[in-house]
Symmetry: C2
DNA sequence: GTGAAAGCGCTAACAC
DNA sequence: GTGTTAGCGCTTTCAC
């Protein structure tokens, strides 16, 4: 690997000039520029990003900290983040926290150690305390969730969770469902907000809630749903708040040989490959995941340019997609 | 952020001693060690990994280059890679190539520029040429695929694709299917190998192949399947070779209101959330994706320790999971 | 416009 | 065992 010194020698200029040319700095004669570029070409020179980063104190990596890449929501967001980041010359370091605050703190520290330019992040509820405790020196964009006020500006991008859950619940009620159980992702603010929307809708109709916080995993969702279905007064519908819990509920329903929607209705969040392949197809809130990832990255890159710009909150719309899983009760 | 110099001053030792303590080098008196650790504690010091990497010429990042993280196979592999890497103190930089050789070459260069310790990689068929052309200076582990011989040792981990496709095809034939169409992922060696297994099985029974290479995307799979189903002599079963094509085939089958397996059988690769949730459930080869990712990372880290160890090829078993989608023809 | 030189934070000879 | 020092490859003042 050729270094900048070798390029400088080959071109008969100083390393400073090479550096200027490669960073597209002004004040370089075009003759010099050509000579440098030719040497670069000949030697197959590529700047060492590590050295550049050490010297310039800014790096071309961003961190992506999500709870689990296997959650289709985060899979799609991650893909969008990677696409957008690379378009702008950034690479993406990715981590999974499993909603574990210890892992989360560890990863945040690691991000600082790696000198990343910024982080896109789906925080647990403990995160803001951690963030305030240790001196974060890079900007953060929060996706999917809310975060307690921090000592520094944080941008947020997500859908209106209260409203989305409200609409789903309203829809179920309008279609004649009365005992609607809610399965909410534990550990995140999103689960809480969706619960709020759910309870608001039920209250408006004088129905009583049946809410459960569940770890965002298929088996956990299945177990919770199974327990409810086997109870003395089983629900006539499930509101699930992410695609893993939705799959879990469906597993439980299938295990117990119940029919959707005749015996039990089902609605949820996040359009996945399978939400239209199962029969009946599932009624759900389709979040614009790719756009969320793209916008998150754009917000982050903007803040990297201008660290002191006021903090922004982007709330997108979730689209209600109707399927057979919540058809009117006969 | 405190630097090693400040720690050294606070502890009243040299930076060399601090460095020794932090890298767990021998030959440090325990008294020194304690003094250093205390200063580290007090200052909240954490080593700058960028500086360490520049100086020591080895980094604590590995690259992960896959065709598309949204393919459930790669989602699971990626999660395993990340888990394993972080256990060993490595972080993961991830990229999607979309099977595009230009993007692939770009990312490989970027990996070198970032001075990664190694790369886990699902190459396109052009990759080995690129790899030989530019002086790779980090080890590579290939997942999911084969790769043409390179000028340097490469480890490979995948399942036996010929055998897996052979078994699936045999299974269909045994169950009475006769016109079996194959949808194979284009651009990768894996599609080719699975086609070989498929054709071998058909030949053994004097049946003729009906093979199509298709881009690994749901819509492309749906389109190909739809065209076949609408043709003059439609297939009585589909062998699909990844979960995206499998979903695509199912979409086409549903669109045309055909029943599985009565009117058309369906088998594929990769157990996904939905492959057991659709009815009938899908017969498929379940690849040990998490283990593939874990092993890939272990192979890579071993080779990082010992770059000259002979190249290894790990061939795991795919498990045939029976579902209703390939039930015996009546 | 261009070059000389300092130094980002760390590790690893080498000297003692 | 510990300290001194050179230098990884780059950017960026500061002269000229």
């Amino acid at each position: 690997m050729a270094s900048i010194k070798e390029v400088a020698e080959a071109a008969g200029v100083s390393t400073a000039t090479v550096s200027r040319v490669l960073s597209n700095k002004p004040y370089v004669r075009s003759e010099m520029r050509d000579r440098v570029m030719q040497a670069v070409e000949e030697l197959g020179y590529r700047p060492n990003l590590i050295a550049r980063s050490l010297r310039s104190q800014r790096s071309s990596s961003i961190g992506l900290i999500v709870s689990d890449i296997r959650n289709p929501y985060f899979t799609s967001v991650s893909r969008a983040v990677e696409d957008t980041a690379y378009e702008q010359g950034y690479s993406v370091i990715f981590c999974n926290t499993d909603e574990n605050p210890d892992k989360e703190a560890l990863y945040l520290h690691l991000m600082r150690d790696q000198n990343v330019a910024g982080v896109i992040f789906s925080p647990t509820r403990q995160a803001s305390a951690d963030l305030n405790a240790f001196n974060i020196d890079f900007p953060i964009v929060v996706v999917d969730r809310s975060i307690e006020p921090c000592d520094f500006p944080v941008d947020v991008i997500r859908i209106d969770n209260v409203d989305a859950a409200y609409r789903l619940t309203e829809h179920l009620i309008a279609n004649g469902y009365r005992r609607i159980a809610g399965l909410f992702g534990e550990a995140s603010t999103t689960g809480r907000e969706r619960r709020t929307g759910y309870e608001k809708a039920l209250q408006a109709h004088n129905l009583s809630p049946l809410a459960n916080y569940v770890p965002p995993r298929i088996e956990a969702g299945a177990e919770a749903a199974r327990a409810l279905l086997k109870s003395d007064s089983p629900p006539d519908a499930f509101l699930t708040t992410n695609s893993l819990l939705m799959a879990g509920a469906l597993v439980a329903i299938r295990d117990l040989d119940l029919r959707v929607p005749d015996q039990v209705g089902l609605v949820g969040f996040d359009k996945t490959t399978w939400s239209t392949l199962v029969q009946p197809s599932i009624t759900l809130i389709d979040q614009p995941t790719y756009q969320i990832g793209r916008t998150a990255t754009e917000l982050l890159l903007e803040r990297i340019q201008d660290p002191d710009c006021p903090s922004r909150e982007v709330i997108l719309d979730g689209k209600l997609v109707l399927g057979g899983s919540s058809a009117p009760r006969s």
